[in-house]
Amino acid sequence: MSSFIRKEMLHILRDRRTLLVVLVIPLMLIMLFGFTVSTDVNNIKVMVCAPHRSYAVAEAVNRMTASRYFEYKGFVDAGDIDQSLRTGKAAAVVVFADDYDVSGKYQLLLDGADVNTARTSQAYLQSVLSTGNVAVKQSGIQTHMLFNPQMKSSFNFVPGIMGMIFLLICAMMTSISIVKEKETGTMEVLLVSPVKPIYIIVSKMIPYLLLSFIDLVIILVLAYFVLDVPLAGGVGNVVLVSVLYLVLALALGMMVSNVVESQVAALLISAMVMIMPVIFFSGLLFPTENIPWALRWISYVVPPRWYIDAMRKLMIEGVDLKGVLLEVGVLLAETVVLMTAAVKKFNDRLE
């Protein structure tokens, strides 16, 4: 058994490039997404249309320029408004009335094609223009952003990327490597050896499990020290749930490798149960509550959804294990079902 594991380890260690790719890519994903990607709407391009460039208008423009939500793009003539919106030079145009100084009347023309930007710019423009930020402060409303005071989207992405990377390494890489042995015929050679067949599969999985574990450590270190993700629910709990998820992913990989005969099929099937559901059904970008009822069951089935949910609670909201019992329960149940099915299927195939 240990000699088999050694063989698999050597395979991976000798293949420097693969090793590099597997260790460096998660790191780069975390860093890039952590620092750049944001679902938050900022830097909205605003143009102003004003017949009289009075003091009040100038003052309103100043307030917009000062806000981090807007990128002021200058004045525009009434006739060119449509073109500016259409070519994307502006996402919003504020049209001040002739008598703005007196009446305070203005109109907002928004590029509704980009729905969230339109909504956000309306809300922010209204609050900047109608009374000015000053009044809001005077009114004594204090806003607290709980759990994520700087409103960083990266907090959301870290669990999402973890959910995907581990599937990629544990499920996809193992299934491809098992199916490859099937394709080249070396699997037969291993199967006629006196080692129990199931150990052969297990020994193929262990190196990938180790690799994912190294990735887990890298990701957690980066998340905590570089991206300031709080890991408030305790590192131990995060690792515990992650290891459960890794085993689940391995079971999935084993299942896939049992069902398919070619590397391409292994890859496409893994991709279909991975990339698509992770992006669209896991709540990574799109809130699961917006999914229509008829399709919501898909999100109840895909494992990353539960893992990402649990990670979000543990890493950001800081609940303890009791708070993620449901998620852990579902993951555990799925692991048991998949593992049993995969082992049974594997033994059936041998006979």
């Binding site: 709407v41 094609a113 759990f147 991709a271 917006n290």
Partner: protein, 360 residues
């Protein structure tokens, strides 16, 4: 027929014989267009608010009714215990807590500003940001002297009902073309490498250009078929037909498909095994999806990251697609984006040809 013709014919025969892949490619656009627009909805509607009313005065009652009247806010639970509201927030039942302190009305009557507290669950940054803005907007008139607040008339262009699906459909079409034009040629080429058939080609006088083109052109055509399927599905199911000219969409899509398959072939050329190739490919597809403005706003990224995305083909294509599809912008108005896309496409195709080595 030249050598290129024979090679392309071979690609089509292989594509047809591989039932699994060819069916997948033909069904993918339809399935994605049927399901994903329903699921991928980042629309912020119905922000759930809990009000912790410790004042129980006329003013706090008016505040609650103002919040209730707001179109964007929902399920206003009035509780008296902050702890209770916090538990609801932690359980995800509520997004924003508004706390009205004791003696709020009295403070206002004394001519001072009462202190209202808003706590938003910022795990979802968009929702909490917008949600607290909505709360502030609906409470402000009550807390200032009330008369000064004038709401402007607002007009949404191009998508009057603010249907989020319309915004995302062009992006999903791009994702479909991207998946097909990246993964299918890459898989095909990596298999030739693993099976050794590429060796048999390398020992023939076929030029690098011919061989690379024989991998690009079929997926170019397949990509256009997928585009057509996606446009038809979007139109028939969601009633969204392109506002601008179809010719502009197809022109831009042709260039984009070329850029993506050129990129995919370059990745295969520099990787040795299928595992490597797929891992690298996933990395870039993730970058393309999340950093090109397909799913998240491009303008929100830091400047250096925006510069990085200059080399991402979807970054240019998504701008063109959204503008043409939703706003009816002409290709002439989008000339700079189109030019940039063409430059990126040429670059990736050259890289694909140059990185292909017949002789080692």
């Amino acid at each position: 027929m030249s050598a290129l013709g024979f090679l392309i014919k071979k690609e089509f025969i292989q594509f047809r014989r591989n039932r699994f892949v060819s069916r997948l490619v033909f069904l993918l656009p339809i399935i994605v267009m049927l399901i994903v627009p329903l699921v991928a909805n980042m629309d912020v509607k119905g922000v759930n608010v809990a009000v912790v009313d410790m004042d129980r005065s006329g003013l706090s009652g008016r505040m609650v009714s103002h919040l209730e009247a707001s179109k964007q806010l929902r399920a206003r639970l009035v509780v008296t215990d902050y702890r209770q509201a916090y538990d609801l927030l932690e359980a995800g039942k509520v997004d924003v807590i508004v706390t009205i302190p004791e003696g709020c009305e009295q403070t206002q009557m004394l001519g001072r500003m009462p202190e209202i507290k808003i706590d938003a669950n910022a795990v979802n940054a968009t929702k909490s940001g917008l949600g607290s803005q909505y709360v502030i907007a609906s409470l402000t008139p009550l807390l200032t002297d009330g008369s000064a607040v004038l709401s402007p008339s607002v007009r949404y262009f191009y998508n009057e009902t603010l249907d989020y699906r319309f915004y995302m459909i062009p992006a999903f079409i791009i994702i479909i073309i991207m998946l097909i034009c990246c993964f299918i040629p890459a898989l095909n080429l990596v298999l030739e490498k693993e099976k050794g058939t590429i060796e048999q080609i390398n020992v023939t006088p076929v030029s690098r250009m011919e061989f690379t083109l024989s991998k690009l052109i079929p997926y170019w055509i397949i990509g256009m078929v997928a585009l057509t399927e996606a446009i038809l599905t979007a139109g028939l199911v969601y009633g969204l037909w392109p506002e601008g000219s179809l010719a502009s969409i197809y022109w831009a899509a042709l260039v984009f498909a070329l850029a993506m398959s050129g990129f995919a072939i370059a990745v295969v050329n520099i990787s040795d095994t299928m595992q490597q190739c797929i891992f690298v490919m996933f990395f870039f597809v993730m970058l393309f999806m999340l950093m090109s403005g397909l799913l998240t706003p491009l303008d929100s990224m830091p400047q250096w990251a925006q510069w990085l995305t200059v080399a991402f083909p979807p970054r240019w294509f998504v701008g063109i697609m959204r503008a043409v599809y939703l706003k009816g912008t002409t290709l002439a108005e989008l000339a700079p984006d189109f030019l940039a896309l063409a430059v990126v496409a040429t670059f990736f195709c050259i890289v694909a040809i140059v990185t292909y080595r017949k002789q080692k």
